[in-house]
Amino acid sequence: MADAEPQVVSTGRKGPAIPRPLLYLLLILATATPLFFDNISIPDQPADPAVFDMYAMLMTIPTDRPVLVSSEWTNGTRAESRGAFEALMRILMHRNIKFVLFSIADAQAPPVAVEVIRDLNEERKKHGERPYERWNDWVDVGYYANGEGTAEALAVSVQKAFSGKQDMNPQGESEDVFDSPVLKGVSTLKDVSAFINVTASATDIVYIQRLASKTTFLEFCTGVMGPEAIPYYSSGQTKGLAKGLRSVIDLETLMVTGIPAGGSSRVPAAVPGILPASDPRSKGRGNHYNASLHVAIVLMILMIVIGNVEMYRAKRGAAS
């Protein structure tokens, strides 16, 4: 393809034009600058009932059974999904809930999730907490190519759906995942506490269609998917919903403040926080990006105003 000339953004029919690269440069500077200042803190007041329910459900699901975590994101949506996955892992690790990791969307998804768990374990070691051990605390059953078939199989029998899958035990040997402390005794969805979908694709629909009615289904999705996911939360098919970066920020706030009694529609009792405000982990990825997100939105509004004023002026100039 031949090299094209740089595009310009016209602000009116006969008005001046702003070169598009200049706009991009402005946006890059505006979003990158706040990242250097760790002490910038935008006050957050969570108001989304779906996030309240998500946190309340995660804090009250039984700890004696494992949860199934379908991690359906890769580095393409790291901005939103990694923050969501980190928040989820922090809560599960805090409550000592065992989990099974797998994916139906992308073969790269499980290794990406394993990398996050490794980073969180490093963080836990720094804070004097025990690392979450593969095999004893969680297992990775990998990628499944046929999402619909896998979800259908899981709805019938977890044991059959994951049969033949192996993971590394602490001795470095591959063993059947059903010999691990995580999946020992698990046969059907009744033997798991919840099914949690962290997704950047339409896998939520696949699970809602096939197994959401048989277990507690919770969903972390991207901002783009958010509006489409709301009806499923509203109808109770999804018991908790976190949508994009905004929900990650709220979730990180709730992990500090907790929820007072009556704050969640699904859990009437008060739910405590898990991190003190002084803990650096309370400022997770969501809070780290919050200031930049605000600056970017202000810049966008400013550009819309300038564009409209210029268009109005150009129209008036043309009329006179």
Binding site: A4, E80, Y143, A145, S213, V224, S235, G262, Y289, A296
Partner: protein
């Protein structure tokens, strides 16, 4: 992890990021190179993962069986799994002019399995939403707003949840009107002479556009998030942590 390796690894990622973002200036060869490299890596990874993650455990092991730790027979193999191989290879006959009809056999099997699920999955997806759409539009109390439920629990909380307050009724009316208008827009997609129906359709179209606007707003916010994350990777993770070691 070795710090020099981290600088090399993250440096490659930064280079790829900048190469891909160079398209913002103009279409160029650097962008093309990194685009093709990304696609090649993704396809290569997928091919290997298809064997190691999927076919090996869910097909090969089940076909040949497994031995226990002492080398004795463990799980017996089921030879019938072998029949899947020729059936699935029939799919590639789609490229043959003479035998392409045979590719319809595996496609037919997949379609049949998929179609068999559809009645059940359709109802589990939409059934609860039909029930949720039946919302009360008339308040059953004189109070307009729902009281603050912070600190309230037990029967008092249940009573508040069962009450339809004025503000809630207005919410529900907006919901029901939106639902009916949008449905009439899709159901009566022919030229409607009846004035009321025509207005309902127009309202439905406007309400749909408001919904699409909200979706577009979320999309823009997500694109900002993606840019912020890339900037964080370049300036904080690579420059600050890896290179400057701070």
């Amino acid at each position: 992890m070795n710090p020099n390796y981290l600088v090399f690894r993250d440096g490659c990622i930064v280079l790829a990021t900048l190469g891909l973002y160079s398209v913002l200036y103009r279409e160029n060869k650097v962008f093309r190179f990194f685009e093709h490299m990304f696609l090649g890596l993704a396809v290569g990874w997928a091919v290997v993962a298809m064997w190691t993650e999927v076919l090996f455990s869910t097909w090969w092991v089940k076909m040949i069986g497994t031995a226990d730790k002492l080398g004795h027979h463990g799980q017996p193999g089921y030879w019938a799994w072998a029949t899947l191989l020729p059936i699935s290879f029939l799919g590639y006959l789609v490229f043959s002019k003479k035998y392409n009809w045979m590719s319809r056999i595996p496609i037919g099997i997949i379609l049949g399995l998929w179609a068999g699920q559809q009645v059940q999955v359709w109802f589990t997806q939409y059934g609860p939403q039909f029930a949720d759409s039946m919302r009360p539009i008339w308040p059953n109390t004189h109070e307009f707003t729902r009281p603050d439920v912070t600190g309230i629990s037990g029967p008092a909380l249940a009573s508040i949840k069962d009450t339809v307050y004025g503000s809630q009724a207005i919410d529900n009316v907006i919901y029901v009107v939106t639902l009916l208008c949008v449905m009439s827009y899709f159901l009566f997609s022919f030229d409607v002479k009846q004035k009321l129906l025509a207005r309902t359709q127009t309202t439905g179209r406007w309400l749909l556009m408001i919904g699409f606007g909200a979706i577009f707003g979320s999309t823009v916010m997500m694109r900002f998030s993606l840019l912020i994350d890339r900037m964080s990777f370049i300036f904080i993770e690579f420059v600050k942590h890896d290179v400057l070691r701070r």
